[in-house]
């Protein structure tokens, strides 16, 4: 065990939050939060630099006994899958601070504390190698998120916050039972790696699979349990939406990757068709709903459901292309949808309306804004050359290999995506300028640019040269896949 880099990554935002507690003044709070998130981002980049892409083994591991009586450890470590998300989280963290620079005008300090603790917990989730620790991070996120939505959200924020809270809580509590059952079947350990090596009877695997499914499906969200998402997204402040879309939704998928697949391979394979069906349903259903939206944020929110459907589709295709595509698509969705929410937030700050009908001809008053919006919209549509194209293509090919119907659904979803996104862009950016827009809208300033640019960079980088990203995940995904297939069908 060397330098506890991961602990530093996790606790840097905590330290920032602690510092903030003793500060006064809104600007001081903003700058402090920004500097800590940037520091954190720097640490993450350092981590990526030192990351060994040739092995699937956990790296930067740390293990300290926490509750020895129950075999609980404070165990951290990352492999290719989580490394990507650790980085994404840190990146979006900085952007969130920037995005809420002026959007949050009351209780700035408290907001920043929430944001920073949120970031720490999310990082913790991706780094945890102990199920208990994972659960603690996972569940504790509810507190700051609840506050972010509930305190700084829109008019319906209280309802949205409570709905978000209860959905997630109910799901994750069942997950908790699953964890405990796993603990006893897995030889009284919460060590994720050790549990991965267990061969559980199929009956237990099925039960656990559904226990986990409920928790993860709520987070993803998959279709029957997605209803909290539009409310939460719409009511949350911009930064909240970015976190929700960018990181929180990934956690469900991450859970599938980290727990469902390796620990319950037999059940995962057995129920993969069901999962594919649900994913296909989410893709199409989310797309159709997005098509019907007039509210910008709602549209992006429903598109998230659709896009996350691609992710789960890729994962449960259970082949290399599907998995890699799914994981990459998680990253892409984080970047792109995060950016779209940021853009909705930017325009909302200026006009205080999110109704598509209120906009038009933005191109003329805010050319820079609309240009970048075009980039991200296209990215969301998975146009070649953008990041999502790579991911979606991989998912589609994996999906078709696994199940023809699901693959077709995905194609349909992609088409729907093109329809609503283009429609939205057309109405907002092109056409005659609306009266209100022409008078009040100013273009993006430097701070906003600082938030937009990194995202744009990643959109193009992944779209044009995805190899470094695929390299990071490659070893881990391959290992996971062989693990699942050898265990899942070997019996």
């Amino acid at each position: 065990m060397g330098f506890p880099l991961l602990s530093f990554i996790i606790f840097t935002p905590v330290a920032g939050a602690a510092v903030l507690m003793f500060l006064r003044g809104d600007d001081a709070a903003r700058w402090t939060a920004l500097s800590f998130t940037v520091l954190d981002l720097a640490l993450c980049i350092a981590m990526l630099v030192g990351f060994d892409t040739t092995t699937h083994a956990m790296q930067f591991t740390e293990t300290r006994p926490w509750v020895p009586a129950l075999g609980i450890n404070y165990a951290l470590g990352i492999d290719g899958i989580s490394a990507l998300f650790v980085f994404l989280t840190a990146l979006l963290g900085s952007i969130c601070v920037l995005a809420s620079w002026v959007a949050i005008d009351r209780k700035v300090k408290e907001f920043m504390i929430c944001l920073l603790s949120m970031q720490a917990l999310m990082l913790g989730v991706f780094c945890a190698l102990d199920l208990f620790l994972f659960y603690v991070f996972w569940e504790a996120m509810l507190i700051p998120m609840y506050l972010i939505i509930g305190v700084w959200g829109g008019e319906g924020r209280v309802y949205a916050a409570i709905k978000f809270f209860l959905y997630t809580l109910a799901g994750s509590l069942l997950f908790l039972i699953g964890v405990i059952v796993l603990y006893f079947y897995g030889g009284r350990t919460f060590d994720i790696l050790a549990l991965t090596e267990q061969d559980l009877p199929f009956r237990i695997q099925s039960w656990l699979f559904f226990a986990f499914l409920i928790a993860f499906a709520v987070k993803v969200p998959m279709v029957p349990v997605h209803t909290w998402l539009p409310d939460a997204h719409v009511q949350a402040p911009t930064a909240g939406s970015i976190i929700l879309a960018g990181v929180l939704l990934k956690m469900g998928a991450y859970g599938f990757l980290r727990f469902s697949l390796p620990m319950l391979p037999e059940a995962s394979m057995y129920y993969s068709t069901l999962m594919l069906a649900l994913s296909g349903l989410a893709i199409v259903y989310g797309g159709l709903l997005a098509l019907a939206q007039d509210d910008l944020k709602k549209l992006v929110a429903y598109s998230s459901i659709s896009h996350m459907g691609f992710v789960t589709l890729g994962i449960f295709a259970l082949n290399l292309r599907g998995l890699e595509g799914g994981i990459l698509q998680m990253f892409n969705h984080g970047v792109t949808t995060g950016a779209l929410f940021l853009f909705v937030g930017l325009i909302y700050e200026r006009t205080h309306t999110r109704s598509i009908a209120d906009y038009g001809g933005l191109m003329k008053v805010a050319p820079v804004y609309t240009t970048f919006l075009a980039l991200f919209t296209l990215s969301s549509m998975a146009l070649p050359g953008t990041n999502s194209f790579v991911g979606e293509l991989l998912v589609l090919s994996g999906g078709f290999a696994a199940n023809l119907v699901a693959g077709s659904a995905a194609v349909l979803g992609a088409l729907l995506g093109a329809a609503y996104l283009l429609g939205m862009y057309g109405k907002v950016a092109l056409g005659p300028a609306s009266v209100g827009a022409r008078l009040t809208i100013r273009d993006v300033n430097a701070r906003e640019m600082a938030a937009i640019l990194p995202l744009a960079v990643f959109v193009l980088w992944v779209g044009l040269y995805p190899k470094p990203f695929l390299n990071i995940i490659d070893a881990s995904v391959k290992h996971l896949l062989t693990h699942v297939h050898s265990r899942g069908s070997g019996q």
Binding site: P65, W66, V67, P68, A69, L70, E110, F132, Y135, V136, F137, E139, A140, L142, I143, Y146, L147, G150, V151, R157, V158, A161, I162, F165, L166, L169, A170, L173, L174, L176, I177, I180, V181, Y183, F184
Partner: protein
């Protein structure tokens, strides 16, 4: 019994003796305390409890049976005694200002609390149904009086009267069970009972007796179907006493339940099915009824019912882990519940009662620090990590799953999700509403200290549960 064994027994019960002696002295001395010197009472009471704690600690090294098998000073008892000390001490700290405001800060208040403490301590150490009964009554009689301590307040009178009558009925039921056990086994000692029934554990008479005893005890912890007294009593009693009752006496009730349940007689009688049903119904009732409460104290009363239900799950799980989980649960519950009650108590100032949830609207705006504390307690009560409340529930669930009660565990978590709703509803009021009034919490140094202790416990046990867990586990095996 010779003088030597008497001395040994007295030594084993030294903490109890300290508390009772101290209470007696304070009772008399208190009559000479002049107005404006009431702080003497607080410090004297605190000193008494601390001396008792010291005595407990010094005697904790070995198991000491005493009084011809009626009493035992073992680690199990020590653990519970520390929970009681904690609850009592914090109640003292919280009481000073509140008692002044309500005009109940006489010496009797503190003395009764001390006597109730001694009753709880006896309960934790009792190994004979007689000593259990005596301890139990010593405790509840004091709480009856304390409940009605706001003499001019009708709610308080009413609460006390209901409490007395229902409490006496439950005592009667308990005693009837005891008499049946005595008739069937010829002994009232827990060990003796166990030895006497090895032959035919499923004797219907014994089962009936055990059911009666369980029913009587269940009343004391406020579980369904003997919960009806609890909301009224919690609402009517002075808030400090409510805080005390929801932690100390409740823990004492569980101490006895565990002591009885560690007994093979109960273990043999398949009574756990009843206990499991009680746990489910209790938790369901507490959680669902709390959803519609507007009064903070009443809500906390139902929340306390729900928590009792969760702890009973631990009892139903049984085994060393089950017992340890209940013990840990109670310890943690003492911290977080006293914390949230501390916040409610602190709000009582001037003509502001702070009893209605809506009263807290926008509290976070003017008092972010205190609001953060309340948030901490509330999320802990809801069982969200990284607070201690989560670990308490987690360990109970571990015990449940360990003994194969996965279905019970699922029910427990689903109900706790329901329960989470009303906690976050309060958070919502505190954080997401606009303030309607200026808050002037009665934040004395003592209240500050109490809040600091509870907050440290709530977050500390949540982050570093290991030591406390070990303590609870060791205490079970020692007993």
């Amino acid at each position: 019994m010779t003088a030597t064994t008497l001395f040994q027994s007295a030594l084993a019960s030294l903490p109890e003796i300290v508390v009772i002696t101290g209470a007696c002295i304070l009772l008399i001395l208190g009559q000479f305390v002049r107005k404006g010197q009431e702080h003497f009472l607080v410090w004297a009471s605190v000193a008494i409890v601390l001396i008792a704690a010291l005595a407990t600690l010094m005697l904790a090294s070995e198991v000491r049976p005493a009084y011809a098998g009626m009493f035992i000073a073992d680690r199990f008892a020590v653990f519970f005694k520390f929970v009681f000390y904690l609850a009592t001490l914090l109640t003292f700290l919280l009481s000073r200002k509140y008692a002044d405001i309500e005009g109940i800060g006489s010496s009797e208040y503190y003395v009764l609390l001390l006597f109730a403490l001694s009753g709880m301590m006896i309960m934790a150490s009792a190994t004979d149904l007689l000593s259990i009964y005596v301890g139990l009554e010593l405790m509840v009689i004091c709480t009856y009086v304390l409940t009605g301590f706001l003499r001019r307040e009708r709610r308080s009178n009413e609460a006390a009267l209901k409490y007395v009558i229902l409490g006496a009925v439950s005592t009667g039921i308990f005693l009837y069970g005891v008499s049946l056990v005595y008739g069937l086994t010829g002994t009232t000692q827990l060990d003796g009972m166990a030895a006497a029934v090895t032959g035919d554990p499923l004797d219907p008479g014994l089962l009936l007796a055990v059911v009666f005893i369980v029913a009587g005890l269940v009343f004391k912890v406020g579980a369904v179907p003997f919960h009806m007294w609890l909301p009224d009593v919690y609402e009517g009693a002075p808030t400090t006493i409510t805080a005390f009752m929801s932690t100390g006496p409740k823990a004492a009730g569980f101490a006895v339940i565990l002591r009885v349940f560690l007994n093979p007689l109960v273990a043999a009688s398949n009574v756990w099915i009843i206990v499991a049903v009680i746990a489910v119904v209790t938790m369901a009732l507490g959680s669902f009824v709390a959803l519609v409460q507007d009064n903070f104290k009443r809500l906390l009363a139902y929340s306390s019912i729900a928590h009792a239900g969760f702890a009973i799950f631990g009892v139903a799980a049984g085994g060393a882990d089950g017992v340890a989980s209940v013990m840990l649960y109670l310890l943690i519950y003492a911290f977080m519940n006293l914390g949230i009650f501390g916040a409610v108590i602190m709000m009582r100032n001037g003509d502001f009662s702070g009893e209605v949830i809506e009263d807290y609207a926008g509290f976070a705006k003017s008092h972010p620090g205190l609001a953060l504390l309340m948030l901490l307690y509330l999320f802990s009560l809801a069982g969200i990590p990284p607070t201690a409340g989560f670990f308490a529930k987690f360990y109970v669930l571990v015990a449940l799953v360990e003994h194969g009660f996965v279905m019970l565990a699922v029910i427990a978590v689903l109900l706790s999700a329901v329960a989470a709703y009303f906690y976050i509803r309060i958070v919502m009021v505190i954080y997401m509403r606009e303030p309607k009034r200026a808050f002037a919490p009665a934040l004395t140094p003592l209240v500050r200290a109490a809040l600091a202790v509870t907050a440290a416990g709530t977050i500390g046990i949540g982050l570093f549960p290991s030591w406390f867990l070990k303590l609870a586990q060791d205490s079970v095996f020692g007993g």
